[in-house]
Subunit: 424 residues, 2 copies
């Protein structure tokens, strides 16, 4: 359907860091204490879609709907900052060309949806803010004069890791040194086409208690962890270089070793915080032990590493693996963690692409093709549902401009879909 | 009963470090990468008892019985090293006095028992080697000419932390710098009489899987953890000084803060190891969160910290607290972790000193006297037995010479008690 007259609809991807961002040197501008590097995941599977529209006729103020629920746009808030910055770029453009409609002076209606449920346990702020910034840049006709690195500088002020979702492939967030943050932005290290065979299996781990919010947690680490300073000064700079080189060489062994070491190093600084912050639970740790044993046995057999784990500020594991290894890893995880919901995007189980596996499932035997010295009792078979859901995806591209058919606003500027109940 | 003619029987205590030992700079001599500091626990509750006897009539070789099971004394082993070192001191003494019986040239029979079951999940190597060394020093008549610091240098070569069990109260293991280890020994920081009101509650946590043995684990950390180097160089030296000062001042708030921070710092370096080492499990972490919340609420009420947790290379928590706080802490732990076996050494539950609480127990209500802002839902009430056993003890004294009544060898030099089956 056709949306409002002046509108744009775009999507942006999720990214999962392999060199972790943890700690701000400036909490208002969101300037990190260290560089970070991430892999962008495929928008065909995980994405945020945003429609933005400007119109004189809209009521006096900007409005935002998130997954069908209207959200307040707080003054002094991060969302406000992002909208104002984009509007300023538009007004500068209008100042140079009278013929342009005065979009910068009109109210905005913004509607954003994620195609992955919150239940997936994936942070949506990165893809959400990236989609917002890219959509406004499109609506305001700023592209390509303003490039994605410039946009990343603004997305960063919405949510730090959002700056990395403005590129596909392998993306570095250069922390920068300037106090105004002008040099704190994202750059692409390599495109998805450079290493298209890198896949990801997300293991959504059930967790009773809510963990420490990352925004509060990371500043507590900055304030109290003696080890964090060492991570910032010595550990991360060396790893940024070595993992970038590994990506250039498509060297999965090195990529995996650095990715796992940095995930553990990050969670070590969380544990070194006062009071300590715990994100990984016993199930997270069991997945670590499973992957470590699989890699050990594979290397003993003269082959390389099979997969790499990484954990953000929660118990979920993201497993990176070369395409040809995913089937083995998937069946191994399904053996030890029965009954995880799984949509078989790549038809690994042979029931058809996207075939949905839900509810009671038959026990999955140990896969054939395991390295001969693999110790199958490294962890016990867990109770059904310990891993709630599995999501198989791959390295993906950057933000996309979508056509009117995907517009989330009706011609009158009202949201196409509204959620029944307001979220708690 | 009277033992063999030439015999001595002594006991030595368990010690629990508050500044942790993790990593060796010399694995043969057992020289640590950093200083450590521990609290000696009361031998009335936890101890190793050893009887050593020398006699011409014994068969050609030294023999050892551990908890009623004969153990091989391996050549080149740590036990061999300790026995040889002690024997050398005796022969030097004999060389200076012909009238002395030539004990140094006769075979030894050594019998050692712990009064705490392995099930308690407490390392017995520290108290065991300390008891062995102190008993041989007594048998060989080396005391007091040879002091306990000199003996600690030998005990250290049996098991690093054993050197700290040669003193009561608060004990520092000075790592030293010399290659020959001559300056790597234990010294007393303060006696038990200096701060007799410091109590300990040991929470024995059930754990399915066996953790990484500490001897192997610590060297893996030395080899692979970038954070350990920072701990060794900067973190520990400052904490050794500040916790020693806190002990001198009997300042529990500072003692507790440093103790908890160092436990977390140590486990952080384990997590930073490749592959990572996990000792704490979800139950261990729940106890951390419980103690942190109790302390937070108490400090918000203008009072100090109530207790401090520390974890060695396993899931068990040791909680240190001033005597007057133990009842509150005990009932809090029994509320959230039902059905732990508990011998009430200090009669906190009013059923008599040493009253045994075993098996099915009635639900324990939240204790009265909790700080008003304590959040009782900080952790859930766990399934019965998540904490298997509770042991209440206090700061204790150093090795003791025991009388013949406690001799573990019969007159003929054979063990008084033999275990039925050999341990697995």
């Amino acid at each position: 359907m056709a949306g409002p007259k002046y509108s744009a609809t775009c999507s942006a991807p999720v990214n999962i860091a392999v060199i972790k961002y943890w700690g701000k040197r400036d909490t208002k501008l969101i300037l990190p204490t260290n560089d970070s590097l991430s892999v962008t995941l495929d928008q065909d599977h995980l994405r945020s879609v945003t429609t933005a529209s400007a119109d004189e006729s809209y009521g006096g103020k900007d409005r935002l709907w998130l997954n069908g629920v209207e959200e307040e746009i707080a003054e002094q808030g991060r969302l406000r900052t992002c909208i104002d910055e984009m509007r300023k770029m538009r007004s500068d453009k209008e100042a140079g060309d009278d013929k342009l409609p005065k979009l910068s002076s009109w109210p905005l209606h913004i509607c954003s949806e994620n195609n992955f449920p919150t239940a997936a346990g994936l942070a949506s702020s990165a893809s959400g803010f990236a989609a917002l910034i890219y959509t406004l840049a499109t609506l305001f006709g700023l592209l390509p004069a303003v490039d994605n690195s410039q946009l990343s500088r603004i997305a960063r002020q919405g949510s730090g890791s959002a700056c990395r979702s403005l590129f596909g492939g392998f993306v570095a967030w250069q922390g920068g040194e300037k106090a105004d943050g002008s040099d704190s932005l994202a750059v692409q290290v390599a495109s998805r086409e450079h290493w298209p065979d890198l896949h990801a299996l997300i293991c959504v781990v059930s967790d009773a208690k809510k963990g420490t919010p990352s925004t509060a947690g990371m500043q507590r680490t900055v304030a109290t962890s003696p080890l964090l300073q060492h991570r910032i000064k010595d550990v991360v700079p060396a790893r940024m270089k070595s993992i970038s080189d590994a990506i250039q060489r498509r060297d999965f062994d090195s990529f995996a070793a650095i990715t796992m070491a940095d995930s553990n190093n990050f969670h070590a600084t969380c544990l070194d915080t006062t009071p300590p912050i715990f994100y990984m639970n016993d199930v997270s740790r069991a997945i670590v032990q499973l992957v470590e044993e699989l890699n050990r046995a594979s290397e003993e057999a003269g082959k390389g590493k099979v997969a790499a784990y990484t954990y953000d500020a929660g118990p979920n594991a993201v497993l990176y693996a070369p395409k040809e290894n995913v089937q083995l890893v998937l069946q191994l995880v399904r053996h030890y963690f029965p009954n995880a919901d799984f949509d078989d995007t790549f038809n690994l189980l042979g029931a058809g692409s996207g075939a949905s596996h839900r509810g009671q499932q038959a026990a999955v035997p140990l896969p054939s093709g395991l390295p001969s010295t693999f110790n199958s009792s490294v962890i016990p078979v867990h109770e059904a549902g310990a891993v709630r859901r599995l999501i198989h995806t791959q390295v993906g591209d950057g933000p996309r401009k979508l056509n009117d058919a995907e517009c989330l606003l009706k011609e009158d500027g009202e949201p196409l879909r509204l959620a029944r109940a307001k979220r708690a």
